[in-house]
Symmetry: C2
Subunit: 159 residues, 2 copies
DNA sequence: GTATGTGCAAATCATTTGCATTCTC
DNA sequence: GAGAATGCAAATGATTTGCACATAC
């Protein structure tokens, strides 16, 4: 199986883009953990490792990583997107509490049948999907009608 | 079936929130069309109708509408969320082009089995879901490797 | 050699917040 | 009458952009 770096090199070659050491450093860092990441956190991780990468370089790379299929948006929280790398890894979906914002990951059977149907019907080349299921977590559903809980914060706070 | 206004009144009563004419005006406007909406567009629609509603009032209402199940995030594009009202309407999912951002709505069979399983497994009270399928549209997949198309813009531009 | 990428600083712009006032319950 | 909600103006903070320089192809 090709490494993520190789996949990206191929992608840039095909698209007439350029690969750079900065980009490879960012990609390696993204794939260095199994966790989600967001731009700021990724920037800090790189900074801690004494890599001199600017935030704009990260922001400018993300659309390419999305398009190349290496990463995917996972969810939007705390005012910004969180991403997950999907190349070579099981992709997971998210169960989120509408009240406190708590997020749980779960695996679900691939929606391959649906993807195939959509590909045919709309003539799309389908590459993946994102599924979020909403509801109320055990704590928040207990008494969903109390005016004030020790608010864990709005699911959509900040920015 | 209760009207959306009634649903919201009940919600505020149960939660110890307050209902106001401004909020009812906003809710009515949201349900006045079948389309998606975003905050700015909604604000302008109200403005055109000579309703004096401020943007912060809309922003402050949205978390309540999400929690009450009247609306749901549809997708994030052009730097902000787009919402859809789901109360009393068929909810639809989205098929999006990773290249040009084109978005197509489609109906899918309810993922009820999955929702039930998640509810049980995680003790959640599940209220809905959001499914986005990604890929490349007929135009963009034709020659996905050309460096430049008459860019319809980045899917994730602006902010 | 040319066009693309980088870092920096400044600009954007959606969203949030402080505050004085108004209004629901 | 107390606590919420409103509008306004100002603040916040993620993302984008202009620019001069560096560098991949």
């Amino acid at each position: 199986m090709k490494s993520e770096i190789e996949v990206f090199r191929e992608f840039t070659r095909k698209k007439g883009l350029r690969n750079t050491p900065e980009r490879e450093t960012i990609i390696k860092e993204i794939f260095a953990t199994h966790d989600h990441f967001d731009v700021d956190e990724l920037y800090l991780r790189l900074k801690n490792k004494k890599k001199k990468i600017s935030k704009p370089s990260i922001y400018r790379l993300i659309p390419h990583l999305l398009e190349s299929g290496l990463i995917q948006e996972a969810y939007f929280e705390d005012g910004h997107f969180h991403y997950e790398h999907i190349y070579g890894h099981e992709h997971h979906c998210h169960l989120r509490c509408l009240r406190c914002g708590k997020t749980i990951e779960f695996q679900e059977k691939p929606l391959e049948k649906l993807e195939g149907k959509l590909a045919e019907e709309y003539d799309f080349s389908v590459t993946g999907h994102k599924l979020e299921v909403f509801g109320f977590c055990p704590q928040c559903k207990v008494d969903p009608h109390v005016a004030k809980v020790e608010d864990a914060g709005d699911p959509r706070r900040q920015r």
